[in-house]
């Protein structure tokens, strides 16, 4: 923890120098207490770059991504690489992907990307692939095995036979609460690939898995859900230290299922309400998660926040910086065997967030 504070103060110094108060990015540190070389990476997600017409794009979403990129370039210690967590575009158009890619091209260092549904359902990821390569892949970096999954696939019928045009397919999937949408999945083919990929990885090697949708089931109505989550979890379960980092939900969530810790990252575009605020349907936010405060709409970057994430021996401590609220830290607690909110988790110490109507 002392290391985390040191890193934070270094980072705070860098931010103060640039006269910037919040960064809509995540910074991830993998710390190994001297046994291996520590390193960091930054995490930006859910930019939703949206074209109005021609060269005009939605200003608010553009500003979120621009700011994230600028801040990521200021982070100290310098990142080994940058992850982008999916949904670079809003409607999967080349213009949106190109415009987003141009902003991301200003990043220092190597960029890895996750596929989001907004990048995919217009041309099934064809143009995205031209920019960023395969839809799912893995790589090793300084003793950690990283896996990137495309978790936003769905049934063949929905994808190929249901809609008269690709544009309509994209539009139907773009609406979070659209009953014509379809649940996400990783799918058989990719799960086989994952099993093969993991076969050569030692069980003690820290695993960090990136997906767009949560690899757990929270609320189907808004696709905070991956249909074959349990099958993917079964493949990850034998490993000692597994962390799943996901975007898509535009809010703080965390959970522990067996040996697998789950942490979400926030969006650079806009925050989403927690599913339980929709009173007409049942949802399952992990009981572990203490919701963050409601976003203030009058601050357009509020609740787009940023996170400083430390992974000590393969486990995560995520520090969420929130615009108009107390910062929150969600860290892996070894005794409890799960991530906890370090300030508010114990019922006796709990300072509840605002009531969520």
């Amino acid at each position: 923890m002392s290391e985390l504070i040191t890193r934070r103060s270094v980072l705070a110094g860098a931010s103060a120098g640039a006269a910037i108060t919040t960064l809509p990015i995540s910074m991830v540190t993998l710390a190994f207490g001297g046994t291996r070389e520590d390193f960091t990476f930054t995490y930006i997600s859910d930019a939703h770059i949206q074209q109005i017409r021609g060269a005009a794009f939605v200003r608010n979403w553009d500003q979120g991504l621009k700011r994230a990129v600028a801040e990521a370039n200021l982070v100290k210690p310098e990142s080994d690489f940058v992850m982008f967590g999916g949904d670079l575009a809003q409607l999967g158009k080349r213009e949106e992907l190109d415009h987003g890619a141009e902003m991301l091209s200003k990043l220092k260092g190597k960029l890895y990307c996750v596929m989001g549904e907004h990048d995919y359902y217009l041309d099934l990821g064809d143009y995205w692939s031209k920019l960023y390569g395969p839809h799912y892949y893995s790589f090793d970096h300084k003793g950690v095995h990283f896996v990137v999954l495309n978790s936003i696939l769905t049934s063949e019928h929905w994808t190929f036979h249901r809609w008269p045009t690709a544009e309509q397919r994209m539009l139907e999937m773009a609406g979070l609460d659209n009953p014509n949408g379809s649940p996400f999945m990783v799918g058989d083919k990719q799960r086989k690939w994952l099993a093969n990929d993991l076969a050569k990885v030692d069980k003690a090697t820290p695993l960090v898995v990136f997906s767009h949708s949560p690899l757990q089931k929270i609320y189907k109505g808004w696709n905070f859900w991956t249909d074959d989550a349990e099958d993917v979890q079964a493949l990850l379960a034998p490993y000692d230290n597994v962390t799943v980092l996901y975007g898509h939900v535009h809010q703080i969530q965390y959970n522990q299922i067996g040996s697998i810790s789950f942490n979400s990252v926030m969006s650079t575009a806009w925050p989403w309400p927690y599913p339980q605020t929709y009173s007409q349907a049942e949802s399952h936010l992990p009981v572990l998660t203490i919701p963050m405060n409601r976003a203030d709409p009058f601050f357009e970057r509020d609740a787009t926040g940023w996170q400083l994430i430390d992974i000590g021996s393969g486990r995560v401590a995520a520090r969420y910086q929130l615009w108009d609220n107390e910062p929150r830290t969600v860290a892996y607690d070894r005794k409890a065997g799960r991530p906890v909110d370090v300030a508010y988790q114990e019922p006796t110490q709990r300072r509840l967030p605002q009531t969520h109507y």
Binding site: H48, Q50, Q51, I52, A56, V58, R59, N60, G175, L176, D177, N178, G221, W222, W270, P271, W272, P273, T277, Y278, S279, Q280, R294, A295, D296, P297, F298, E300, Q354, Y357
Partner: protein, 132 residues
């Protein structure tokens, strides 16, 4: 709408003294509900298609199922506006800012539709005016 009012007036006249103003039938209630639901459904269209703004952003992008709009808490003190505000004023704030559009009048049928949809999605919730 004007035509149906006229028809109603004619129907009432035909019944003459036997029609009692303080009674209405199941069919009346069904009609009122159907009218509301039609307007609320129109509201969902406006909510999800972005047509009340100018930049293609839709209300539903931030508020799926109109969540986090809490219509049952209005009117309430909106500290950022510095006054007690009604729901339509907050809707207009969103239209002007994230949607980069122009205010709708309080009685604009589109505003009525939007507020009807928001309220429909919060049916059954306890009225808590003034609460945040």
């Amino acid at each position: 709408m004007r035509r149906s009012t006229l028809l109603l007036a004619i129907a009432l006249a035909a019944f003459g003294a036997s029609a009692r103003a303080d009674e209405f039938t199941r069919a009346d209630v069904d009609r009122y509900l159907k009218e509301f639901e039609t307007v609320a459904a129109e509201g969902r269209k406006l909510w999800t298609n972005g047509s009340v703004g100018t930049n293609g952003v839709a209300c539903a992008q931030c508020h799926p199922n109109a969540a986090n709009t809490h219509p049952e808490t209005y009117p309430k003190f909106q500290k950022q506006l510095g006054k007690v505000a009604q729901l339509f004023e907050m809707v207009n704030w969103c239209i002007r800012n994230p949607l980069q559009g122009q205010n709708l009048a309080a009685d604009d049928p589109r505003m009525t539709a939007l507020v009807s949809y928001i309220t429909f999605e919060r049916r059954g919730m306890k009225l808590t005016p003034g609460v945040h």
